[in-house]
Symmetry: C2
Subunit: 346 residues, 2 copies
DNA sequence: CGAACCTTGGACAACGTTGTCATACTCTCC
DNA sequence: GGAGAGTATGACAACGTTGTCCAAGGTTCG
């Protein structure tokens, strides 16, 4: 196209900058900036020349430089979750990314792997990249270091669990109520000895769910039996072991409450393997739950709504909402699908 | 702590910069930079003063400014997939994020939703943020616009499907061989009429898998019957419909090959619902496949390895590997789990 | 015909950081 | 004791962009 030029091609693998475009088009730097950003007050002919140069050089604005200069937002939000592989978290990531896209914002996501140290590192790293806001499913037990970040303009919204030592928005589930209604159902089916399988009481949601289960037992006048609560169940395999172990004890449980979906899967597997007819209610629905070898009753909730509300809240903050931090609690729902083969239905 | 100071606090919600730190510590800007970056040649006492000032102000280096000035990498890689909710993709995202973390690199991930236009937008956006590299599960049919990016230093690695009109690394699965072995199995079990359910032939993987199925049929001397191939199956619901429809045709299939996991789920569901004993082999393993109402034979592969290889390749490129683009094909494996209730086993 | 305006374009500084270079000082060794 | 090497610190420019301001030229209107 442009056959003659007196300056050297100038692009030794280097990326073209606005200066290069300006030189090629024979206009000033600022004019290029105006054209690239669609600002008014540039003559058509001049704009065309600039655009031609942009096209020829393959120029692309450097987002970092732009954001730096303009003191503008980085059009990025940070998401810190436990691990992306879990459908619960990937759904959150997906919903958030989708909503972010409508604002030309991208998602910088990272997994804490439930490690508080790592969580803090990640959060600090995200802040140093000047994300516009943070969405966090907290693993750590102290988020006070985020206070200054919030003050300096990086809002934080917690998801699924509240943050600690920080006043910030949170969108949570009614874990306690959910577990309570699950156990209530088992009790109504005649179960009196209900094994509870949970990950760790260090996790807020687990504590809440356990408390809900105990609420229901207390409601039914059933005393607490420590032997029926099994913690440290991290994955399907340990869940299966725990179930097997509890069933072979004297006076075994006749039903189980699995406090998350990984545990539920392990429990189903083990009960199925041994042909046991013990009752089972699981917290968290999961995609194929209705196709399990035995239909399952689960305590479900709307993960997408959880993410949606949190993201909305975050964007409101990013847009300058300075009202007091809010905590939103979303309901759970008992999805009865056959299950809990009532031992002694009465 | 520091009780007196003559300059104003200076932080009207503004973030402290190195200049602020330098002023407070009474040293030069460059000295702060040295301390913050752990460069040598700073006296202990001076470094301590700087660190104290950093702590007091809550200073945090601006990653964007730093990367800009140093012309350095942004310590970010871009991942474009179809949709994060699918376990296949979330596993990829997870593995990649994990490997990136070892290099203090974060993952900027985005879903193309199989929309080529959107894919291109996302890729351009990622490039304008100067990611260090791109990992792409391509949806589009022309990636020539990435050529200049590669030339200018943003390497691209394609995952699961090759890019089009671009010479770049790719890590793929042996889709054709996998489908072939799946159908071979069904044929060995005595099936002659095998229904094939696929998404769209516009997708590279689907074409390959279909071709593999046809290979196996040809090997067995079974003629091609267009009525047995059903495209446009996008999700479990349409898969169920397709199965139902095909089973009620005259001379129905006695077995099905589902060309991805969403389709497999729908097919299982429908076969189960009707109590059909038709054979079934699904492409893609999925977590609970062994817990399905009827055990399933699936064509599996190592998704983590796929992601691992691709990420390795990408980092090698980022580190300056200028060798010819490579294409890696990973094997699939037929995971026989009961299934394909041999109609006429012989 | 000149004042007042609008349009268009450019020069320059600034965003927050780091690389380059210069300076002042200390130490070593012949 | 002076050359040479090394250490500690700072001044300044630069990364690629955008905001501010000014100037040149054109148009309108009294």
């Amino acid at each position: 196209m442009t056959s003659e030029r007196n300056e050297p091609p100038a692009r030794a693998g280097r990326r073209p900058t606005m200066v290069d475009v300006a030189r090629l088009a024979g206009v000033s730097l600022k004019t290029v900036s105006r054209v690239v950003n669609g600002e008014p007050h540039v003559q058509r002919a001049m704009a065309d020349r600039v655009l031609a140069a942009v096209a020829e050089l393959g120029f692309q604005r450097n987002h970092m430089a732009s954001a730096l200069r303009a003191g503008r937002a980085s059009a990025t939000i940070g998401l810190v979750i436990e691990e992306l592989t879990n459908p619960f978290y990937s759904t959150i990531a997906h919903v958030t990314a989708e909503m972010a896209r409508d604002r030309d914002t991208l998602l910088l996501s990272a997994s804490s792997e439930e490690d508080p140290v790592r969580e803090e590192q990640l959060l600090r790293d995200l802040c140093s990249r000047r994300v516009d806001g943070l969405l966090v499913v907290p693993a750590g037990c102290d988020h006070s270091f985020l206070n200054s970040q919030v003050e300096m303009g990086i809002p934080v919204v917690f998801l699924d669990r509240p943050g600690t030592n920080i006043e910030a928005d949170a969108v949570l589930l009614d874990n306690r109520g959910g577990a309570r209604s699950g156990v209530r159902r088992l009790v109504a089916d005649g179960h009196r000895r209900i094994g509870v399988l949970l990950d760790s009481v260090d996790v807020h949601t687990m504590r809440e769910r356990l408390a809900g289960a105990q609420d229901a037992l207390a409601d039914a006048g059933i005393g607490y039996d420590g032997a029926l609560v099994r913690g440290g169940v991290r994955d399907p395999a340990t869940a299966a072991t725990a179930v097997a172990d509890m069933l072979t004890q004297p006076d075994p449980p006749t039903a189980f409450l699995a406090l998350n979906n990984r545990i539920t899967v392990g429990a189903v597997q083990e009960l199925w393997r041994r042909g046991s007819d013990a009752g089972l209610v699981g917290f968290d629905d999961f995609e194929l739950s209705h196709l399990m070898p035995r239909p399952l009753t689960v305590i479900g909730y709307d993960t997408r709504e959880l993410a949606r509300r949190a993201t909305q809240l975050l964007f409101a903050r990013i847009d300058g909402d300075r009202s007091r931090p809010r905590t939103v609690v979303l309901p759970t729902e008992l999805l009865e699908r056959g299950l809990t083969p009532a031992r002694t239905p009465r």
